[in-house]
Symmetry: C2
Amino acid sequence: MSTKKTTTRDPSGELVFVGIGLQSDRDITLAGLRAAQACDRCYAEFYTSRPGVSLQSLNDAIGRPVEVLSREEIEQDDAILSAARHENICLLTGGDPMTATTHIDLRLRAVERGIPTRVIHGVSIITAAAGLLGLQIYKFGRTTTLAYPEENYFPLSPYHVIRQNRGRGLHTLVLLDIQDERQRYMTIPEAVELLLEMEQRCGDDIIMQDTLLAGVARASSPEPHVSAGFPEQMLAMDFGPPLHSLVIPGDLHMMEARALVELAGAPDELLKG
Amino acid sequence: MSTKKTTTRDPSGELVFVGIGLQSDRDITLAGLRAAQACDRCYAEFYTSRPGVSLQSLNDAIGRPVEVLSREEIEQDDAILSAARHENICLLTGGDPMTATTHIDLRLRAVERGIPTRVIHGVSIITAAAGLLGLQIYKFGRTTTLAYPEENYFPLSPYHVIRQNRGRGLHTLVLLDIQDERQRYMTIPEAVELLLEMEQRCGDDIIMQDTLLAGVARASSPEPHVSAGFPEQMLAMDFGPPLHSLVIPGDLHMMEARALVELAGAPDELLKG
């Protein structure tokens, strides 16, 4: 009987992905909180998304310490999978966990080892940014990400995604680079500068002087900031602390135009025509 | 002095939109919970999205009664706006609040009356469905919604959205009709039947015998179910209680193919070639 118990206990470890959303001490859901409190070990990673506020406030919200893992520990080590064989492990991640490819990969590696997995969803920038601007989620095309360029590395794919979406009248959410290990978070003005540089190189008239852009800073924090304007205006704006995101609106429904004017200070002319 | 106080108190009412995600008693965030507990009155609406579990469990989670409003009370009445002039009002909604156009409209009507508004984000089907299937959110095109057809009403736009997305290799999330007042929630087999009917009418070879489809039921509940297969298989599957969503995958990255096979039981052939 007792042997049986041990046998059933042994493979009863599991790996639970818990999304803690965009603001570490307030976006965790009740389900996430309960899982984090009930598990044997609680890990977190912040290199795919850096939620606002500190690790301390996350520890306080959960009521127990959380151990932060590096990219290598998630992607290459098998430590977390070895632990999940015999223990209930929570991995806390920014946003909704499975929006990061690296977590899909980790989940599949767990499944292949016969380790049960669960996903507890979290608030995501994908819907939060659209919502704060009053833009309809159904009118967004593909999402893209702007990376900091490096020597011999200046990917133009974000520009092409925006071009394709605009060609169908769709909005584009542009996520901005997070280099957590260097404490470097791309700002909206930096992103606008990169897009203008891509326009120079590609010349498809996508990001022009009169192209309306919309920025979202600190989505889901108590003090989010949204502002819409033309590139020159956006370059001069101070959006405050990270994280920042950018939206390139496509064709605007009248209600969306009203929202950009009233919520994000876009020019009134948007409402004419 | 006391007059001044009254004047500042008077317009200090506010309207707070609180996303309660997909499962009413476990998806609310700590921020949402605090707002709902601290406000003067707590309303909810369930016609844009019906979170799983009961109103009672939502009341229990928050620790106070929640009054459910009808579509008319949200869209036509000004009662909620009148109340928000002088009181702190929370409106609890399924998903992430601003993914429903009706909430953007309500927020703009509040802003136009000078009523402060806030948004507390929630877990959304937009990222949850993709994540449970292991499909990359960056490879989704525009989202579409399938409505129950009515006499002289059989919109083909979902078919065209799928066609356009697939033309670019992108996945499509198809949200299924919710007719809460009639307790009618479209199932995945019903949705597949409608898509096959659209294929018959349009004939663009988008939904064929060998088109892989993926269904997600009860996302974010303790027992979500995902299953991928061809139309004939999907028609015969029982996905259990609502809510259901459907994804039409576009081109699959190798990791996505592995995910569909390992998490959703898609045929092994997906991994060859």
